[in-house]
């Protein structure tokens, strides 16, 4: 009986410690992410943290199937507002940086999304700038970070394997 209680206490303390660690990591990571433009998210941030995929999923079908392109819940709008350059003027990439707004949380929570295999993970101006550099160097813009993109897939699959 005593043993069971002791195990319970130990596990509770462990869970508590883990939670504390988790929250500090999250905050530490959160601090690295460049601040978004504007002061207010399109929805309540607490609600968004839990349900943002619902809005993105809903909007995605509206846009593709019916041509409804309202800004409020569009992925493009999220990216334009949340992905801002760091102090060096560089944009974090989803595939290789936890400073990317989406990656900062997804990496921590071992959530593997494939949005950014097709969708731009930075505002259009940043993509255009990268394309311009490729054109100047005579390289193909599609070939940019092939290695890191496949690394990411490996990394996220490893992460989800660990979480299981």
């Amino acid at each position: 009986m005593m043993g069971v209680i002791r195990i319970n206490i130990v596990s509770n303390v462990l869970i508590g410690l883990l939670l504390m660690l988790a929250s500090t990591t999250l905050i530490a990571d959160g601090n690295k992410v460049p601040a978004p433009k504007g002061d207010q998210c399109v929805e309540d941030p607490t609600w968004m943290r839990t349900n943002h995929f619902e809005t993105v999923l809903h909007q995605r079908d509206e846009t593709v199937l019916h041509g409804i392109r309202t800004q409020k819940h569009s992925l493009k709008n999220c990216i334009d507002c949340h992905i801002t350059p760091n102090e060096n003027g560089e944009y974090a990439r989803y595939s290789n940086s936890e400073e990317h707004f989406c990656a900062s949380c997804h990496t921590f929570a071992a959530v593997s999304v494939d949005c950014f295999q097709c969708h731009a993970d930075r505002p259009e101006s940043a993509v255009r700038e990268a394309i311009k550099q490729h054109t100047a160097n005579g390289t193909n813009p599609h070939q940019d970070m092939k290695a890191s993109a496949s690394e990411l897939i490996l990394k996220s699959s490893l992460l989800s394997a660990q979480s299981k």
């Binding site: 929805e43 309540d44 607490t46 609600w47 839990t50 349900n51 619902e54 809005t55 809903h58 995605r60 079908d61 509206e62 593709v64 199937l65 019916h66 041509g67 409804i68 392109r69 309202t70 800004q71 493009k76 990216i79 295999q117 097709c118 969708h119 731009a120 505002p123 259009e124 993509v127 255009r128 990268a130 394309i131 490729h134 193909n140 813009p141 599609h142 070939q143 940019d144 970070m145 092939k146 993109a149 496949s150």
Partner: protein, 265 residues
Amino acid sequence: MNNVVTKAYKLLRKSEQATDTQQTDQSKRSFIGGLVGASGLAVAPGVMLYETASAKPADQAVTNQVRWGMLVNVNQCTEDCNACVTACNDEHGLWPEEGSSTDSQWIRKLTVKDPTTENTKSFPVMCQHCEHPPCVDVCPTGASFKREDGIVLVNMHTCIGCRYCMMACPYKARSFVHEVLENQLPSTPRGKGCVDSCNMCVHKIDAGENTTACAQACEKDGHQAIVFGDLNDSQSEISKRLKDFGGTQIRADLGLNTGVRYQGL
């Protein structure tokens, strides 16, 4: 905490329902608006109906009141010009490797020669945006679909990359993305494992620009061989030209009623 989230979620769903009703109202309004526009047309012919048909608010779904199409005047297209292809690649962020036979090609220039007369013609071929698209017929997941306004698209969220549509298309208009892509433009998301093709610059149309990159480039180069417009509007330039000069469909025998027509072919 959970309760708050559920409440907020319910509220959002409610506001969505409200938007749905609003949308119905708006669609009624736009229908009435269309009628007004049509009756107004009799009084003042020309621009009015065209404007009514083309200005779509961002929160409204596309309707079948319009059917977008293109007319290519083959006589005004020159063999050495590639402006439409370059413009398409720039607009959608397609950078095919030199000499690659598999990289995406949304529009390409064809040169055909009549062996008896030796008459040569050069013209662009892209997705023909059929009224009865074979790609839609064969798609096992429903990813290949025709929008209400006649634009044939791939819903890449449901595309499984089986390439059945590529086999079915008589125009070889579709491509399969074989490799990981980088630096895709926000307006044209595309990636490995999906089929893609000409989307008639759907992002431009939804933004109310009502033109395509290829038509713009052709006009800029002074050829004016591509006319974009609403086939349902008898007052649009494309309809007027089709009425005056006619327009052929490639493989008209298939009865697909293509949205892209050719003049002088």
